[in-house]
């Protein structure tokens, strides 16, 4: 089942002097439960593509369909609501809310979605246990290591059971042990929850773990490999 279809997407940034073709005619499909990495050198358009997929930016042309909904047809407020219900985000620098505890960070989106307290608590503990932080539920981000913060971010991204999770270089700030732990956890959650993971990365360890590797250069897909 397709959760995401990208059709002939272009993104051109018009600066005062030069036009930058950040994404150049990319078409891709993602099935439910994929664990895919988008790789490429710096400036190749990975983050731009991820922003377009996540509805944080709008394509110059082309269509992005999430579960048969064209993101371009959604108004600003509807798009924000759509993101909340369908897309999970994991950022390179974790971006947790510093004044909230790990538990509160994870349940934040569920509370925005007005989940019942008991359902919210159950889901939060289930996810924090899955990412190995059941003993740090009341810790604030400042009391957690980088790896632990990123695991909370993954738990937050999965909290409301989105169609897919977009992770922009999630391991860029982590040491190798934390990277390995995080990748194992994401791999396991991907399999258990059936949620699609799409990473942008140039970390070889992530590429190794991914079951599909899409390489882009100069805004174009140069290879799309599926591993068995």
């Amino acid at each position: 089942m397709k959760v995401l279809e990208i059709k002939n997407v272009h993104k051109i940034y018009n600066s005062s002097e030069v036009k930058v073709h950040a994404v150049n005619d990319i078409s891709l499909d993602f099935e439910k439960g994929e664990f895919a990495a988008i790789v490429g050198p710096s400036g190749s358009g990975k983050t731009t593509l991820l922003n377009l997929i996540g509805g944080l930016d709008t394509p110059t042309s082309g269509e992005i369909m999430v579960d048969h909904t064209n993101l371009a047809e959604l108004k600003s407020s509807a798009l924000i609501d759509f993101r909340m219900r369908n897309i999970g985000f994991v950022f390179q620098s974790y971006n947790l809310i510093p004044v909230l505890t790990a538990k509160e960070n994870v349940e934040f989106i569920m509370s925005l979605q007005k989940w019942k307290r008991e359902d919210r608590d159950a889901r939060t503990f289930e996810l924090l246990k899955a990412v190995g932080l059941e003993d740090r539920v009341n810790s604030r981000p400042s009391k957690l290591s980088g790896g632990q913060q990123q695991r909370v971010a993954v738990a937050r991204a999965l909290a409301s059971k989105p169609k897919f999770v977009l992770a922009d270089e999630p391991t860029a700030n982590l040491d190798s042990k934390s990277t390995e732990t995080l990748l194992d956890i994401m791999d396991q959650l991907n399999k258990e929850e059936g949620i699609t993971f799409i990473f942008s990365t140039h970390d070889a360890r992530v590429v190794k773990k991914a079951r599909r590797v899409i390489t882009i250069e100069d805004g174009k897909v140069v290879s799309d490999e599926r591993k068995n």
């Binding site: 922003n51 996540g54 944080l56 930016d57 600003s76 407020s77 924000i80 609501d81 993101r83 909340m84 219900r85 999970g88 985000f89 950022f91 971006n95 809310i97 510093p98 004044v99 909230l100 509160e104 349940e107 934040f108 989106i109 509370s111 925005l112 937050r156 991204a157």
Partner: protein
């Protein structure tokens, strides 16, 4: 969760939030306390006017107030009194004769209004008798074969009935009031010296005291140094019922002190029976009925009912007799509101500035929140709540401090003795008991919340304009 996050965000930068909270606290405290002092002074003024000076309602001949002609009596006095006494809400009534005349002593003279009163019924309507200065006598309570007059402190000073003298008793008394030794040394050479008037005494004090000393101690010294010779005399001259100039020597029964220079200077009270004898008026010839009510709130209702029952007479309530009081009581509540709005408007700029810094500092976080699904309404609410919390915390502390200080100062009052002359010239007491109503705190609370909301609008709109993909790229 938005409320919880906003509350926690307030304490993210404790120093900055505390600076805003303290500034709101000081602003609110300053505003409320100043209003309480003004309100206390005005309430005291109104109380004094109603209880000591004019009471609630006056009834007189419709032309009396034009020139106070002695012939303008209230027609059918008994009938009118019956009507007044039968009117619901009337507590007590007293009748007066009013003539204008001159008060003279050997030294000076002054124009006065002579009120012929019945001391017993007068006491039921007004409490002027309670303001008698200790040591000056009483409100016609002692029998005397002489004619008696009850006069104000300022008139007594003007006519040199009150004199000033420094003696051992005065120095001892000032010592007990903890006046510095250097002041007592300055006063020592004046021992035994008598000053005929307040003016000459003050002039002498000004010559020996520095400006700072005058401000701090002149009133204290004057209060101890004044002296009054029992049964001092003055002559009252006036026109009698037959338009013939007449007069008599009156002994001072007592001197009242009501902190209102104009009243003290002009109103001389004598017994009605004495005035009747001197002017040829009879007990049925009265100029004015003065009425006190059970409740001040009933003033307009009782006035209206008396006006319809006695259409041929002039019936005025206290707000009409003293329009300055009416203006003060009616306008002051609006003024208090405007005063607080100005203070809060100034504080609002501080809050706006802080919230703009908050939005600027949290650009990346706000971008992340929008990215993960926090819509504009919620982002706006969160910024607004942070601003409201900041102002509410500061406001609550400010109101608590105000309440505490008002309670504390209301026990003994604030004594602005250094400005006594100025206050009394306007009819106000320089000893003020701050007072504020609970409803004013409710108004201030609403104003604080509104300030918090208004202060958040511009910063929140800035936050809404953030592009999440751009915001996420900021460091």
């Amino acid at each position: 969760m938005i409320w919880k996050t906003a509350w926690k965000n307030v304490w993210r930068n404790k120093v900055r939030s505390l600076v805003v909270i303290i500034s709101v606290t000081i602003g609110i405290f300053g505003g409320i306390f100043a209003v309480a002092v003004m309100n206390g002074a005005i309430e005291q003024r109104v109380d004094a006017a109603l209880n000591e000076e004019i009471a609630h309602i006056h009834i007189n001949h419709s032309n009396l107030r034009d020139n106070y002609d002695i012939q303008l009596f209230i027609p059918d006095l008994e009938q009118v009194l019956e009507t007044v006494n039968a009117t619901p809400g009337v507590k007590s009534v007293t009748s007066r004769t009013i003539i204008t005349g001159m008060a003279n002593t050997a030294a000076k003279s002054a124009g006065v209004q002579i009120l012929g009163i019945d001391p017993e019924t007068e006491k039921k309507v007004l409490k002027l008798y309670e303001t008698t200065l200790p040591g000056t006598g009483s409100f016609f309570e002692t029998e005397s074969r002489h004619l008696l007059a009850y006069i104000g402190q300022d008139l007594a000073k003007e006519l040199n009935i009150i004199r000033y003298m420094i003696n051992d008793a005065v120095i001892d008394s000032l010592k007990k009031r903890e006046l510095p030794e250097e002041i007592l040394i300055k006063l020592a050479p004046y021992k035994g010296q008598r000053f005929k008037s307040e003016k000459s005494f003050k002039k002498e004090m000004k010559s020996i005291l520095t400006l700072k000393e005058q401000h701090a101690y002149a009133v204290k010294i004057a209060k101890e140094a004044w002296s009054f010779r029992q049964r001092s005399k003055m002559t009252l001259t006036f026109i009698d019922k037959n338009q013939v100039q007449t007069g008599a020597v009156f002994r001072i029964a007592g001197i009242y002190d009501i902190k209102n220079n104009m009243f003290e200077m002009s109103q001389v009270l004598v017994k009605n029976e004495d005035l009747m004898e001197l002017t040829g008026m009879t007990s049925k010839e009265m100029h004015q009925l003065v009425i006190s009510l059970e409740d001040t709130e009933m003033t307009e209702e009782v006035t209206a009912s008396l006006k319809s029952a006695l259409p041929e007479l002039e019936i005025m309530h206290w707000k009409e007799i003293q329009p300055d009081l009416a203006m003060m009581t009616d306008m002051i509540q609006k003024f208090y509101g405007v005063f607080m709005v100005i203070i809060l408007a100034a504080l609002a700029f501080g809050i706006v500035n802080t919230m703009l810094m908050v939005v600027l500092e949290r650009t990346k976080e706000l971008g992340m929140l929008t990215a993960i699904g926090m819509n504009k309404k919620r982002v706006f609410s969160m910024i607004m709540l942070e601003s409201v919390f900041l102002s509410i915390v500061g406001g609550a502390v400010g109101m608590a401090v105000s309440k505490f200080m008002i309670t504390l100062t209301a026990r003994n009052g604030i004594n602005l003795a250094g400005y006594e002359e100025g206050f009394e010239a306007m009819g106000f007491s320089a000893h003020i008991y701050p007072v504020i109503s609970t409803s004013f705190f409710v108004t201030v609370t609403i104003l604080i919340i509104v300030t918090g909301i208004l202060s958040s609008i511009y910063p929140a709109l800035k936050a809404l304009k953030l592009d999440p993909s751009e915001a996420l790229r900021t460091e």
